[in-house]
């Protein structure tokens, strides 16, 4: 079943001059059609300004499409009476961890979402407990968010969303402001949510390494979906990706260069093990 279904989605930002006349229209989303199956880990790749964040905000009903339809968990985002239900089912994690933590104690922040939903007090505590455990932040529950590292803050933000028990979590470049360690922590937490709790994950990023384990990948540029497929398909098209100034994972790039220089190894190698096995095969021949 598709939890998210976007059909020919268009979103226009209208620029106005001082006299309030339209001076230009930017299409942030241009005829985007994306489908996400329940329980999947879907990645959306693209440069800054490719429209990926705009799309993310549509799923959470923070922005509404200029035209086209977007159905989230069976509800149309254009129906204002469904907005809260959609936000409850599709939680969102943003890029800057500082600007999404509301409370000054970790556990109170995790409880903020359930409070807004009117969940009973005992149930809030249970959910806070569970969510903090899921992201491995239980030890920090009484700390002030200001004293945590970037990766820890972002995990708290994820716990805050998990506590609302959504079916789907959208992460809008959650690792863009983190160091490599923080990035790893966050990606591990997300993967765990997807695998163990079966929560649908939509990861928006421009780090190629993070999407290797995704079930499906969409690549966006200037508001359009330019490539889609499983990671192996996407990354086997190294030249095509390069044309759009997108990187490929280092291992994939290495394999690609080796192949170009004459070695007989397959396309779309994603991990070290795969490359080693392929090279062993070549050397045995």
């Amino acid at each position: 079943m598709n939890i998210i279904k976007a059909i020919n989605l268009v979103h226009e930002y209208i620029k106005r001059d001082e006299d309030n006349n339209v001076s230009g229209i930017t299409k942030a989303l241009d005829d985007v059609s994306i489908e996400v199956k329940e329980g999947d880990f879907v990645a959306i790749l693209g440069h800054n300004g490719s429209g990926k964040s705009t799309f993310a905000k549509h799923i959470n009903a923070l922005l509404s499409p200029t035209s086209g339809t977007l159905i989230v968990d069976g509800k149309d985002v254009l129906d204002p009476t469904k907005t809260l239900e959609i936000r409850k089912q599709a939680g969102m994690v943003f890029q800057n961890p500082d600007n999404q933590i509301i409370a000054s104690v970790v556990e109170e922040d995790v409880g903020f979402g359930p409070e807004n939903l009117g969940v009973q007090t005992e149930e809030i505590w249970k959910r806070v407990e569970k969510s903090l455990k899921t992201v491995g932040m239980t030890a920090y529950r009484h700390h002030s968010p200001n004293k945590l590292s970037g990766g820890q803050k972002q995990r708290v933000a994820i716990a805050g969303v998990v506590a609302m028990e959504p079916k789907c979590i959208i992460l809008d470049e959650p690792t863009a402001m983190l160091d490599p360690n923080g990035r790893k922590e966050v990606i591990e937490a997300i993967t765990e949510l997807n695998k163990k709790k079966n929560i649908t994950v939509i990861l928006i990023t421009h780090y190629m390494e993070e999407v290797i384990n995704a079930d499906f990948v969409y690549v966006m540029e200037s508001g359009k979906v330019i490539m889609k497929g499983v990671p192996r398909e996407i990354f086997s098209q190294v030249e095509e990706l390069k044309k759009h100034r997108l990187d490929v994972p280092q291992i994939t790039l290495l394999a690609h260069e080796l192949k170009k220089s004459g070695l007989d190894i397959p396309d779309g190698i994603l991990t070290r093990e795969e490359l080693i096995n392929a090279l062993l095969k070549v050397s045995q021949q």
């Binding site: 905000k57 959470n60 923070l62 809260l84 936000r87 409850k88 939680g91 969102m92 943003f94 800057n96 500082d98 600007n99 999404q100 933590i101 509301i102 409370a103 000054s104 104690v105 556990e107 109170e108 409880g111 903020f112 979402g113 359930p114 409070e115 807004n116 939903l117 009117g118 969940v119 009973q120 007090t121 809030i124 505590w125 806070v128 009484h142 700390h143 002030s144 200001n146 805050g160 969303v161 609302m164």
Partner: protein, 271 residues
């Protein structure tokens, strides 16, 4: 220097003061301020000193940490002290030069005013250091909830306050960063007279404002994404209910005010 502001920062610690109901603490702060500014006489001040010292001791927060907040009002303190000291007319004049004079009343006033201001800052910092902004919000909201009947947006005001408090340290850090960035480009915040210095603050204040607005925008979006609607139907993770210690605290606070006021009537300052 800019990192020394302690107002609005929570200091986590396991103490009886931390555990008190925020409504009690708000009420206590109010009574404390009333006592501080209505007290007449040395006995009253001693009682207040004792009350404050006990509260600080019970809170288990290092005293030096609390006094950090004082650094930011040093200028204000100096001005108040000097004005009171040199400009108050009195019965006995010890020294005078033009309009400047030192009198007995002037000395008393200067000392009392300085002590009052210092106590005011310590007392209020103590409250914000022992109460999380969320508790503070809850306390305010609950204490002021009768006002919502006359359409005062109590919840919204309380929420704004708690967010403002939460962002103080973040904005302070940001100010520090922008300051350094501008200094690296040759901005000068240290030299020149007061007008020149104020003008030099513009390259600091403009980016700070812009970034504060951007943060506000993002935060509002994050709150909306988490189903915040600022209307009825929210539940509480930590609902407020009075315990025995809170009732005892109320009794102590009321008797404290009575003692201070009574002391002022019985033994006023030497005139």
């Amino acid at each position: 220097m800019i990192r020394d502001i302690t107002i609005g920062q929570y200091y986590p610690m396991d103490s009886i003061i931390h555990k008190l109901d925020p409504r009690v603490k708000l009420f206590a702060t109010l009574i404390y301020i009333i006592a501080l500014f209505s007290c007449k006489g040395i006995v009253g001040l001693i009682v207040i000193t004792f009350f404050l010292a006990t509260a600080v001791k019970l809170s288990k927060i290092p005293f030096l940490y609390i006094t950090k907040g004082l650094k930011t009002i040093v200028m204000l303190l100096l001005v108040t002290t000097i004005f009171n000291l040199f400009l108050t007319p009195g019965k006995v004049t010890f020294w005078h030069y033009g309009i400047l004079k030192i009198t007995d009343v002037g000395i008393t006033n200067a000392v009392v005013m300085t002590v009052r201001l210092i106590y005011l800052i310590i007392g209020t910092s103590l409250m914000s250091l022992t109460t999380t902004p969320n508790q503070l919000t809850d306390g305010l909201e609950k204490s002021l909830s009768p006002l919502s009947k006359i359409h005062v947006p109590v919840h919204a005001i309380a929420m704004m306050m708690s967010i403002a408090l939460r962002f103080i340290p973040i904005l302070v850090e940001e100010t520090d960063k922008i300051m350094k960035a501008q200094m690296a480009r040759g901005a000068d915040f240290e030299s020149g007279n007061i007008i020149k210095r104020a003008k030099n603050m513009i390259p600091l204040l403009v980016p700070l404002m812009v970034s504060a607005f951007r943060r506000a925008d993002e935060l509002a979006m994050a709150m909306e994404a988490r189903c915040y609607t600022a209307t009825e139907g929210r539940s509480k993770m930590k609902p407020l209910h009075y315990e025995k210690r809170d009732k005892i605290a109320y009794v102590i606070i009321i008797s404290f005010l009575v003692i201070v006021v009574a002391a002022g009537i019985v033994i006023p300052y030497p005139q």
